[in-house]
Amino acid sequence: MLDAEFFRRWMTATAASVDREAERLTALDSPIGDADHGSNLQRGFKSVIAALEKEAPQTPGAVLTLSGRQLISTVGGASGPLYGTLLRRTGKALGDAAEVDEGQLAEALRAGVDAVMALGGAAPGDKTMIDALVPAVDALDDGFPAARSAAEQGALATTPLQARKGRASYLGERSVGHQDPGATSSALLIAALAEAAGE
Protein backbone atom coordinates (compact mmCIF):
# COMPACT_ATOMS: atom_id res chain seq x y z
CA MET A 1 0.00 0.00 0.00
CA LEU A 2 1.10 3.57 -0.77
CA ASP A 3 0.80 6.15 2.00
CA ALA A 4 1.22 9.92 2.16
CA GLU A 5 4.93 9.38 2.76
CA PHE A 6 5.23 7.55 -0.56
CA PHE A 7 3.65 10.44 -2.42
CA ARG A 8 5.88 12.90 -0.63
CA ARG A 9 8.88 10.81 -1.76
CA TRP A 10 7.49 10.92 -5.30
CA MET A 11 7.36 14.71 -5.27
CA THR A 12 10.82 14.96 -3.67
CA ALA A 13 12.32 12.62 -6.26
CA THR A 14 10.64 14.60 -9.06
CA ALA A 15 11.93 17.87 -7.69
CA ALA A 16 15.46 16.44 -7.49
CA SER A 17 15.47 15.07 -11.02
CA VAL A 18 13.92 18.27 -12.43
CA ASP A 19 16.74 20.15 -10.71
CA ARG A 20 19.32 17.83 -12.22
CA GLU A 21 17.79 17.97 -15.71
CA ALA A 22 16.65 21.61 -15.76
CA GLU A 23 19.28 22.75 -18.22
CA ARG A 24 18.50 19.89 -20.55
CA LEU A 25 14.77 20.62 -20.44
CA THR A 26 15.37 24.28 -21.20
CA ALA A 27 17.74 23.32 -24.00
CA LEU A 28 15.07 21.05 -25.51
CA ASP A 29 12.61 23.95 -25.23
CA SER A 30 14.98 26.17 -27.18
CA PRO A 31 14.80 25.02 -30.82
CA ILE A 32 11.04 24.38 -30.73
CA GLY A 33 9.89 26.56 -27.84
CA ASP A 34 10.89 29.51 -25.72
CA ALA A 35 13.67 28.10 -23.57
CA ASP A 36 11.96 28.12 -20.21
CA HIS A 37 10.65 24.63 -19.52
CA GLY A 38 13.45 23.61 -17.15
CA SER A 39 13.35 26.78 -15.07
CA ASN A 40 9.54 26.67 -15.03
CA LEU A 41 9.44 23.22 -13.46
CA GLN A 42 12.36 23.90 -11.18
CA ARG A 43 10.53 26.88 -9.71
CA GLY A 44 7.31 24.87 -9.45
CA PHE A 45 8.66 21.78 -7.73
CA LYS A 46 10.80 23.82 -5.40
CA SER A 47 7.64 25.48 -4.15
CA VAL A 48 5.85 22.10 -4.03
CA ILE A 49 8.51 20.81 -1.65
CA ALA A 50 8.31 23.94 0.49
CA ALA A 51 4.51 23.70 0.68
CA LEU A 52 4.60 20.00 1.56
CA GLU A 53 7.01 20.72 4.38
CA LYS A 54 4.97 23.61 5.65
CA GLU A 55 1.48 22.14 5.40
CA ALA A 56 2.38 18.47 5.96
CA PRO A 57 -0.69 16.97 4.26
CA GLN A 58 -1.63 13.60 5.75
CA THR A 59 -3.23 11.63 2.89
CA PRO A 60 -2.07 10.67 -0.62
CA GLY A 61 -4.90 12.73 -2.08
CA ALA A 62 -3.99 15.77 -0.03
CA VAL A 63 -0.30 15.53 -0.99
CA LEU A 64 -1.15 15.56 -4.70
CA THR A 65 -3.89 18.22 -4.63
CA LEU A 66 -1.63 20.54 -2.65
CA SER A 67 1.23 19.84 -5.09
CA GLY A 68 -1.03 20.51 -8.07
CA ARG A 69 -2.35 23.77 -6.64
CA GLN A 70 1.20 24.81 -5.93
CA LEU A 71 2.27 24.16 -9.53
CA ILE A 72 -0.68 26.17 -10.83
CA SER A 73 0.23 29.08 -8.56
CA THR A 74 3.93 29.18 -9.30
CA VAL A 75 4.80 27.76 -12.72
CA GLY A 76 2.75 29.68 -15.27
CA GLY A 77 3.27 28.89 -18.95
CA ALA A 78 1.47 25.96 -20.51
CA SER A 79 3.06 23.36 -18.27
CA GLY A 80 1.92 24.99 -15.01
CA PRO A 81 -1.83 24.58 -15.48
CA LEU A 82 -1.32 21.22 -17.22
CA TYR A 83 0.95 19.55 -14.65
CA GLY A 84 -0.99 21.28 -11.90
CA THR A 85 -4.23 19.83 -13.21
CA LEU A 86 -2.61 16.41 -13.59
CA LEU A 87 -1.61 16.24 -9.92
CA ARG A 88 -4.71 17.97 -8.60
CA ARG A 89 -7.13 15.70 -10.47
CA THR A 90 -5.13 12.61 -9.61
CA GLY A 91 -5.20 13.69 -5.97
CA LYS A 92 -8.93 14.36 -6.04
CA ALA A 93 -9.54 10.96 -7.58
CA LEU A 94 -7.63 9.37 -4.67
CA GLY A 95 -10.13 10.88 -2.23
CA ASP A 96 -9.15 11.04 1.42
CA ALA A 97 -7.98 7.50 1.97
CA ALA A 98 -4.91 7.23 4.23
CA GLU A 99 -3.43 4.59 1.92
CA VAL A 100 -4.10 3.51 -1.66
CA ASP A 101 -2.99 0.53 -3.70
CA GLU A 102 -1.26 0.55 -7.09
CA GLY A 103 -4.50 -0.14 -8.93
CA GLN A 104 -6.16 2.87 -7.34
CA LEU A 105 -3.18 5.02 -8.24
CA ALA A 106 -3.28 3.81 -11.86
CA GLU A 107 -6.98 4.65 -12.08
CA ALA A 108 -6.52 8.05 -10.47
CA LEU A 109 -3.58 8.89 -12.73
CA ARG A 110 -5.71 8.01 -15.75
CA ALA A 111 -8.33 10.51 -14.52
CA GLY A 112 -5.55 13.07 -14.16
CA VAL A 113 -4.22 12.48 -17.66
CA ASP A 114 -7.75 12.66 -19.08
CA ALA A 115 -8.18 16.03 -17.38
CA VAL A 116 -4.94 17.25 -18.99
CA MET A 117 -6.22 16.14 -22.41
CA ALA A 118 -9.54 17.87 -21.80
CA LEU A 119 -7.85 21.09 -20.66
CA GLY A 120 -5.16 21.30 -23.31
CA GLY A 121 -7.02 19.57 -26.12
CA ALA A 122 -4.00 17.47 -27.05
CA ALA A 123 -4.30 13.86 -28.23
CA PRO A 124 -1.54 11.24 -28.44
CA GLY A 125 0.73 11.99 -31.40
CA ASP A 126 0.47 15.78 -31.03
CA LYS A 127 4.04 15.91 -29.66
CA THR A 128 3.24 16.91 -26.09
CA MET A 129 3.56 15.56 -22.56
CA ILE A 130 0.55 13.38 -23.40
CA ASP A 131 2.83 11.21 -25.53
CA ALA A 132 4.73 10.16 -22.41
CA LEU A 133 1.85 10.18 -19.94
CA VAL A 134 -0.65 8.03 -21.82
CA PRO A 135 1.75 5.09 -22.46
CA ALA A 136 2.94 5.35 -18.86
CA VAL A 137 -0.57 5.05 -17.46
CA ASP A 138 -1.29 2.19 -19.87
CA ALA A 139 1.81 0.34 -18.63
CA LEU A 140 1.21 0.99 -14.95
CA ASP A 141 -0.66 -2.31 -14.55
CA ASP A 142 2.69 -4.00 -15.19
CA GLY A 143 4.35 -2.06 -12.39
CA PHE A 144 6.33 1.15 -11.95
CA PRO A 145 9.43 0.11 -13.93
CA ALA A 146 7.23 -0.75 -16.92
CA ALA A 147 5.57 2.65 -16.66
CA ARG A 148 8.97 4.30 -16.49
CA SER A 149 10.20 2.63 -19.70
CA ALA A 150 6.92 3.36 -21.44
CA ALA A 151 7.18 7.05 -20.58
CA GLU A 152 10.80 7.18 -21.70
CA GLN A 153 9.92 5.44 -24.96
CA GLY A 154 7.01 7.82 -25.41
CA ALA A 155 9.25 10.84 -24.92
CA LEU A 156 11.85 9.55 -27.38
CA ALA A 157 9.10 8.80 -29.89
CA THR A 158 8.09 12.48 -30.04
CA THR A 159 11.25 13.35 -31.99
CA PRO A 160 10.00 12.52 -35.50
CA LEU A 161 6.54 14.00 -34.88
CA GLN A 162 5.28 17.35 -36.13
CA ALA A 163 3.81 19.34 -33.24
CA ARG A 164 0.12 20.10 -33.29
CA LYS A 165 -0.24 21.76 -29.87
CA GLY A 166 1.69 24.31 -27.86
CA ARG A 167 4.39 26.63 -29.10
CA ALA A 168 6.19 24.02 -31.16
CA SER A 169 3.18 23.89 -33.49
CA TYR A 170 4.05 27.40 -34.75
CA LEU A 171 7.08 25.91 -36.42
CA GLY A 172 5.09 23.54 -38.60
CA GLU A 173 7.43 21.07 -40.27
CA ARG A 174 10.44 22.62 -38.59
CA SER A 175 9.26 21.05 -35.31
CA VAL A 176 10.14 17.62 -36.71
CA GLY A 177 13.42 16.13 -35.44
CA HIS A 178 13.33 17.53 -31.91
CA GLN A 179 12.28 15.76 -28.72
CA ASP A 180 9.40 17.44 -26.90
CA PRO A 181 10.49 19.05 -23.61
CA GLY A 182 7.15 18.39 -21.87
CA ALA A 183 7.17 14.70 -22.82
CA THR A 184 10.72 14.56 -21.49
CA SER A 185 9.76 16.07 -18.13
CA SER A 186 6.77 13.70 -17.94
CA ALA A 187 9.21 10.81 -18.27
CA LEU A 188 11.12 12.29 -15.31
CA LEU A 189 7.89 12.46 -13.29
CA ILE A 190 7.11 8.80 -13.98
CA ALA A 191 10.71 7.74 -13.32
CA ALA A 192 10.45 9.47 -9.94
CA LEU A 193 7.40 7.36 -9.19
CA ALA A 194 9.48 4.22 -9.67
CA GLU A 195 12.25 5.75 -7.59
CA ALA A 196 9.81 6.51 -4.77
CA ALA A 197 8.74 2.88 -4.89
CA GLY A 198 12.40 1.88 -4.60
CA GLU A 199 12.25 0.17 -7.98
Binding site: A35, D36, A78
Partner: protein
Amino acid sequence: MKMLINVPETVVADALRGMAAAHPELTVDVENRVIVRRDAPVAGKVALISGGGSGHEPLHGGFVGPGMLSAACPGEVFTSPVPDQMARAAAAVNSGPGVLFIVKNYTGDVLNFDMAAELAEDEGIQVAKVLVNDDVAVTDSLYTAGRRGVGGTLFVEKIAGAAADEGQPLERVEAIGRQVNENSRSFGVALSACTTPAKGSPTFDLPPGELELGIGIHGEPGRERRAMMTSGEIAEFAVGAILDDMTPRNPVLVLVNGMGATPLLELYGFNAEVQRVLTQRGVAVARTLVGNYVTSLDMAGASVTLCQVDEELLRLWDAPVKTPGLRWGM
Protein backbone atom coordinates in the same frame (compact mmCIF):
# COMPACT_ATOMS: atom_id res chain seq x y z
CA MET B 1 25.77 36.50 -23.47
CA LYS B 2 26.30 39.36 -21.05
CA MET B 3 23.29 40.96 -19.42
CA LEU B 4 22.74 43.95 -17.21
CA ILE B 5 21.33 41.85 -14.38
CA ASN B 6 22.16 40.56 -10.94
CA VAL B 7 21.15 36.89 -11.20
CA PRO B 8 18.67 35.33 -13.64
CA GLU B 9 16.33 34.35 -10.81
CA THR B 10 15.54 37.93 -9.74
CA VAL B 11 15.27 39.59 -13.15
CA VAL B 12 11.50 40.13 -13.02
CA ALA B 13 11.41 41.24 -9.39
CA ASP B 14 14.32 43.64 -9.97
CA ALA B 15 12.57 45.15 -12.99
CA LEU B 16 9.39 45.64 -10.98
CA ARG B 17 11.31 47.41 -8.22
CA GLY B 18 12.87 49.67 -10.82
CA MET B 19 9.50 50.32 -12.41
CA ALA B 20 8.00 51.24 -9.07
CA ALA B 21 10.79 53.76 -8.50
CA ALA B 22 10.35 55.34 -11.93
CA HIS B 23 6.55 55.44 -11.98
CA PRO B 24 4.87 56.77 -8.86
CA GLU B 25 1.63 56.89 -10.87
CA LEU B 26 1.56 53.07 -10.74
CA THR B 27 1.16 50.76 -7.78
CA VAL B 28 3.62 47.95 -8.27
CA ASP B 29 3.16 44.88 -6.09
CA VAL B 30 6.60 43.33 -6.52
CA GLU B 31 5.87 40.29 -4.39
CA ASN B 32 2.64 39.34 -6.13
CA ARG B 33 3.64 40.67 -9.55
CA VAL B 34 0.75 42.95 -10.26
CA ILE B 35 1.04 46.46 -11.71
CA VAL B 36 -2.04 48.60 -11.11
CA ARG B 37 -2.83 52.21 -11.93
CA ARG B 38 -2.64 54.14 -8.69
CA ASP B 39 -6.20 55.50 -8.91
CA ALA B 40 -7.81 52.05 -9.34
CA PRO B 41 -10.58 51.04 -8.98
CA VAL B 42 -12.03 53.81 -11.15
CA ALA B 43 -15.70 54.13 -10.26
CA GLY B 44 -18.20 53.11 -12.88
CA LYS B 45 -15.68 52.02 -15.49
CA VAL B 46 -14.84 48.66 -16.96
CA ALA B 47 -11.30 47.64 -16.02
CA LEU B 48 -8.84 46.09 -18.49
CA ILE B 49 -6.31 43.51 -17.39
CA SER B 50 -3.61 42.00 -19.52
CA GLY B 51 -0.43 40.12 -18.87
CA GLY B 52 1.90 37.53 -20.22
CA GLY B 53 5.50 36.51 -19.96
CA SER B 54 8.05 39.21 -19.23
CA GLY B 55 10.59 40.18 -21.88
CA HIS B 56 8.16 42.06 -24.14
CA GLU B 57 8.45 45.44 -22.40
CA PRO B 58 6.91 48.00 -22.55
CA LEU B 59 4.07 45.48 -23.15
CA HIS B 60 2.12 45.06 -20.82
CA GLY B 61 3.19 46.91 -17.66
CA GLY B 62 4.19 49.99 -19.66
CA PHE B 63 0.63 50.26 -20.94
CA VAL B 64 -1.03 50.60 -17.55
CA GLY B 65 -2.68 53.96 -16.97
CA PRO B 66 -5.62 56.16 -17.90
CA GLY B 67 -7.00 55.31 -21.34
CA MET B 68 -5.39 51.88 -21.55
CA LEU B 69 -4.87 49.00 -19.07
CA SER B 70 -6.03 49.08 -15.46
CA ALA B 71 -3.57 46.37 -14.47
CA ALA B 72 -0.89 44.11 -15.90
CA CYS B 73 0.41 40.76 -14.67
CA PRO B 74 3.99 39.95 -15.69
CA GLY B 75 5.07 36.32 -15.65
CA GLU B 76 8.62 35.06 -15.60
CA VAL B 77 10.58 35.77 -18.78
CA PHE B 78 8.57 34.34 -21.70
CA THR B 79 6.35 32.43 -19.25
CA SER B 80 2.65 33.12 -18.84
CA PRO B 81 1.70 34.53 -15.45
CA VAL B 82 -0.11 32.34 -12.91
CA PRO B 83 -3.87 32.62 -12.29
CA ASP B 84 -3.37 34.10 -8.81
CA GLN B 85 -1.89 37.25 -10.38
CA MET B 86 -4.87 37.98 -12.61
CA ALA B 87 -7.33 37.12 -9.84
CA ARG B 88 -5.57 39.55 -7.53
CA ALA B 89 -5.48 42.21 -10.23
CA ALA B 90 -9.19 41.74 -10.92
CA ALA B 91 -10.01 42.25 -7.24
CA ALA B 92 -7.89 45.40 -7.20
CA VAL B 93 -9.34 47.11 -10.27
CA ASN B 94 -12.97 46.00 -10.45
CA SER B 95 -15.33 48.79 -9.47
CA GLY B 96 -18.49 46.92 -10.39
CA PRO B 97 -18.96 47.00 -14.18
CA GLY B 98 -16.61 44.06 -14.62
CA VAL B 99 -13.17 43.36 -16.03
CA LEU B 100 -11.93 42.52 -19.50
CA PHE B 101 -9.03 40.11 -19.83
CA ILE B 102 -6.88 40.76 -22.90
CA VAL B 103 -5.09 37.52 -23.64
CA LYS B 104 -2.50 36.80 -26.30
CA ASN B 105 -3.21 33.46 -27.90
CA TYR B 106 -0.64 31.10 -26.40
CA THR B 107 -1.60 27.86 -24.72
CA GLY B 108 -0.10 28.99 -21.44
CA ASP B 109 -1.70 32.42 -21.45
CA VAL B 110 -5.09 31.03 -22.37
CA LEU B 111 -5.02 28.34 -19.68
CA ASN B 112 -3.81 30.63 -16.92
CA PHE B 113 -6.23 33.45 -17.76
CA ASP B 114 -9.10 30.95 -17.95
CA MET B 115 -8.25 29.64 -14.50
CA ALA B 116 -8.03 33.22 -13.25
CA ALA B 117 -11.45 33.99 -14.71
CA GLU B 118 -12.90 31.13 -12.68
CA LEU B 119 -11.27 32.45 -9.52
CA ALA B 120 -12.50 36.00 -10.16
CA GLU B 121 -16.00 34.86 -11.00
CA ASP B 122 -16.02 32.92 -7.73
CA GLU B 123 -15.50 36.31 -6.08
CA GLY B 124 -18.50 37.72 -7.92
CA ILE B 125 -16.52 39.68 -10.50
CA GLN B 126 -17.91 39.76 -14.03
CA VAL B 127 -15.17 38.72 -16.48
CA ALA B 128 -15.06 38.95 -20.27
CA LYS B 129 -12.14 37.98 -22.48
CA VAL B 130 -10.61 39.09 -25.78
CA LEU B 131 -8.17 36.68 -27.35
CA VAL B 132 -5.55 38.33 -29.56
CA ASN B 133 -4.35 36.24 -32.50
CA ASP B 134 -3.03 38.52 -35.20
CA ASP B 135 0.13 36.77 -36.40
CA VAL B 136 -0.34 35.75 -40.03
CA ALA B 137 2.94 33.82 -39.97
CA VAL B 138 1.18 30.97 -38.18
CA THR B 139 -1.22 28.82 -40.12
CA ASP B 140 -4.48 28.82 -38.24
CA SER B 141 -5.52 25.20 -38.53
CA LEU B 142 -6.34 22.13 -36.54
CA TYR B 143 -2.64 21.38 -36.64
CA THR B 144 -1.47 24.37 -34.63
CA ALA B 145 -2.33 26.12 -31.39
CA GLY B 146 -3.79 28.83 -33.66
CA ARG B 147 -2.35 32.19 -34.53
CA ARG B 148 -0.21 33.90 -31.95
CA GLY B 149 -1.00 37.25 -30.40
CA VAL B 150 1.73 39.78 -31.17
CA GLY B 151 1.72 43.48 -32.19
CA GLY B 152 -2.07 43.67 -32.50
CA THR B 153 -2.20 43.46 -28.70
CA LEU B 154 -1.16 47.10 -28.51
CA PHE B 155 -4.08 48.15 -30.70
CA VAL B 156 -6.55 46.07 -28.71
CA GLU B 157 -5.31 47.42 -25.38
CA LYS B 158 -5.31 51.04 -26.54
CA ILE B 159 -8.64 51.07 -28.31
CA ALA B 160 -10.58 48.94 -25.83
CA GLY B 161 -8.97 51.03 -23.09
CA ALA B 162 -10.34 54.20 -24.65
CA ALA B 163 -13.82 52.64 -24.87
CA ALA B 164 -13.67 51.68 -21.20
CA ASP B 165 -12.46 55.17 -20.34
CA GLU B 166 -15.57 56.59 -22.02
CA GLY B 167 -17.68 54.50 -19.65
CA GLN B 168 -18.89 51.96 -22.19
CA PRO B 169 -20.30 48.74 -20.68
CA LEU B 170 -18.41 45.44 -20.55
CA GLU B 171 -20.11 43.77 -23.55
CA ARG B 172 -19.37 46.82 -25.67
CA VAL B 173 -15.73 47.11 -24.58
CA GLU B 174 -15.32 43.40 -25.23
CA ALA B 175 -16.95 43.70 -28.66
CA ILE B 176 -14.68 46.59 -29.59
CA GLY B 177 -11.65 44.64 -28.43
CA ARG B 178 -12.67 41.67 -30.55
CA GLN B 179 -13.28 43.89 -33.53
CA VAL B 180 -9.83 45.43 -33.23
CA ASN B 181 -8.31 41.96 -33.08
CA GLU B 182 -10.26 40.85 -36.12
CA ASN B 183 -9.09 43.93 -37.98
CA SER B 184 -5.42 43.41 -37.05
CA ARG B 185 -2.70 41.38 -38.77
CA SER B 186 1.03 41.14 -38.03
CA PHE B 187 4.18 39.67 -39.50
CA GLY B 188 7.65 39.67 -37.91
CA VAL B 189 11.24 38.99 -38.91
CA ALA B 190 14.37 38.37 -36.86
CA LEU B 191 17.93 39.28 -37.78
CA SER B 192 19.20 37.67 -34.57
CA ALA B 193 17.88 35.38 -31.86
CA CYS B 194 17.42 36.67 -28.33
CA THR B 195 18.96 35.44 -25.11
CA THR B 196 16.84 34.61 -22.08
CA PRO B 197 18.45 35.11 -18.67
CA ALA B 198 17.67 31.49 -17.71
CA LYS B 199 19.32 30.01 -20.78
CA GLY B 200 22.10 32.57 -21.11
CA SER B 201 22.77 31.86 -24.78
CA PRO B 202 20.82 32.67 -27.97
CA THR B 203 17.55 30.74 -28.32
CA PHE B 204 18.50 29.68 -31.84
CA ASP B 205 21.51 29.89 -34.13
CA LEU B 206 21.17 32.26 -37.05
CA PRO B 207 24.21 32.24 -39.33
CA PRO B 208 25.54 35.54 -40.66
CA GLY B 209 23.81 36.37 -43.90
CA GLU B 210 20.48 34.78 -43.01
CA LEU B 211 17.24 35.96 -41.43
CA GLU B 212 14.16 34.31 -39.96
CA LEU B 213 10.80 35.15 -41.49
CA GLY B 214 7.58 34.81 -39.51
CA ILE B 215 8.92 34.87 -35.97
CA GLY B 216 6.90 35.35 -32.81
CA ILE B 217 7.90 37.26 -29.72
CA HIS B 218 9.34 34.49 -27.58
CA GLY B 219 12.65 33.88 -29.26
CA GLU B 220 11.19 30.97 -31.19
CA PRO B 221 12.50 30.54 -34.73
CA GLY B 222 10.24 31.60 -37.59
CA ARG B 223 8.55 29.60 -40.30
CA GLU B 224 11.34 30.01 -42.77
CA ARG B 225 14.99 30.95 -43.00
CA ARG B 226 16.31 32.90 -45.98
CA ALA B 227 19.35 34.73 -47.24
CA MET B 228 19.48 38.25 -45.83
CA MET B 229 17.14 40.72 -47.52
CA THR B 230 17.12 44.52 -47.79
CA SER B 231 14.77 46.63 -45.73
CA GLY B 232 12.66 47.19 -48.87
CA GLU B 233 12.43 43.46 -49.63
CA ILE B 234 11.48 42.69 -46.03
CA ALA B 235 8.77 45.35 -46.14
CA GLU B 236 7.41 43.79 -49.32
CA PHE B 237 7.42 40.34 -47.78
CA ALA B 238 5.83 41.35 -44.48
CA VAL B 239 3.18 43.67 -45.89
CA GLY B 240 2.54 41.12 -48.64
CA ALA B 241 1.91 38.36 -46.10
CA ILE B 242 -0.55 40.59 -44.26
CA LEU B 243 -2.40 41.71 -47.37
CA ASP B 244 -2.65 38.10 -48.58
CA ASP B 245 -4.77 37.57 -45.49
CA MET B 246 -6.75 40.80 -45.29
CA THR B 247 -7.91 43.37 -47.82
CA PRO B 248 -8.40 46.60 -45.94
CA ARG B 249 -11.38 48.63 -47.09
CA ASN B 250 -10.74 51.32 -44.49
CA PRO B 251 -7.54 53.17 -43.70
CA VAL B 252 -5.15 51.36 -41.40
CA LEU B 253 -3.16 52.05 -38.28
CA VAL B 254 0.44 51.00 -38.90
CA LEU B 255 2.71 49.73 -36.15
CA VAL B 256 6.35 49.33 -37.20
CA ASN B 257 7.62 47.58 -34.12
CA GLY B 258 11.19 46.82 -33.11
CA MET B 259 11.95 43.45 -31.53
CA GLY B 260 14.33 45.08 -29.05
CA ALA B 261 17.83 45.50 -30.41
CA THR B 262 17.19 47.15 -33.75
CA PRO B 263 18.04 50.86 -33.56
CA LEU B 264 15.28 53.43 -34.06
CA LEU B 265 17.31 54.72 -37.03
CA GLU B 266 16.73 51.42 -38.81
CA LEU B 267 13.10 51.18 -37.71
CA TYR B 268 12.34 54.57 -39.22
CA GLY B 269 14.09 53.55 -42.43
CA PHE B 270 12.06 50.34 -42.45
CA ASN B 271 8.91 52.38 -41.95
CA ALA B 272 9.73 54.36 -45.09
CA GLU B 273 9.72 51.07 -47.03
CA VAL B 274 6.53 49.82 -45.35
CA GLN B 275 4.77 53.06 -46.31
CA ARG B 276 6.04 52.77 -49.86
CA VAL B 277 4.64 49.26 -50.20
CA LEU B 278 1.31 50.29 -48.67
CA THR B 279 1.01 53.15 -51.12
CA GLN B 280 1.83 50.84 -54.03
CA ARG B 281 -0.80 48.39 -52.83
CA GLY B 282 -3.41 51.13 -52.50
CA VAL B 283 -3.77 50.93 -48.72
CA ALA B 284 -4.54 54.24 -47.01
CA VAL B 285 -2.72 54.96 -43.77
CA ALA B 286 -4.51 56.77 -40.94
CA ARG B 287 -1.79 56.76 -38.27
CA THR B 288 1.71 55.33 -37.89
CA LEU B 289 3.57 54.33 -34.75
CA VAL B 290 7.28 53.45 -34.91
CA GLY B 291 9.25 52.09 -31.97
CA ASN B 292 9.97 49.22 -29.60
CA TYR B 293 6.58 48.31 -28.17
CA VAL B 294 6.10 44.54 -28.30
CA THR B 295 9.61 43.21 -27.95
CA SER B 296 11.47 39.98 -27.58
CA LEU B 297 14.30 40.86 -25.20
CA ASP B 298 17.43 41.68 -27.23
CA MET B 299 16.27 40.22 -30.53
CA ALA B 300 17.18 42.24 -33.62
CA GLY B 301 14.37 42.55 -36.12
CA ALA B 302 10.99 44.12 -36.57
CA SER B 303 7.33 43.39 -37.09
CA VAL B 304 4.61 45.15 -39.01
CA THR B 305 1.03 45.28 -37.73
CA LEU B 306 -1.86 46.77 -39.66
CA CYS B 307 -5.25 47.46 -38.10
CA GLN B 308 -8.17 48.58 -40.24
CA VAL B 309 -10.10 51.34 -38.53
CA ASP B 310 -13.49 52.90 -39.12
CA GLU B 311 -14.25 56.34 -37.72
CA GLU B 312 -15.13 55.07 -34.26
CA LEU B 313 -11.97 52.99 -33.87
CA LEU B 314 -9.85 55.86 -35.12
CA ARG B 315 -11.50 58.23 -32.65
CA LEU B 316 -10.76 55.74 -29.85
CA TRP B 317 -7.15 55.36 -31.05
CA ASP B 318 -6.71 59.12 -30.94
CA ALA B 319 -8.31 59.42 -27.50
CA PRO B 320 -6.01 60.51 -24.66
CA VAL B 321 -3.74 57.90 -23.09
CA LYS B 322 -1.29 58.28 -20.23
CA THR B 323 0.97 55.32 -19.64
CA PRO B 324 4.76 54.91 -19.38
CA GLY B 325 4.92 53.42 -22.88
CA LEU B 326 2.24 55.30 -24.81
CA ARG B 327 1.16 58.80 -24.05
CA TRP B 328 -0.77 61.52 -25.79
CA GLY B 329 -3.63 63.94 -25.31
CA MET B 330 -3.02 64.34 -21.56
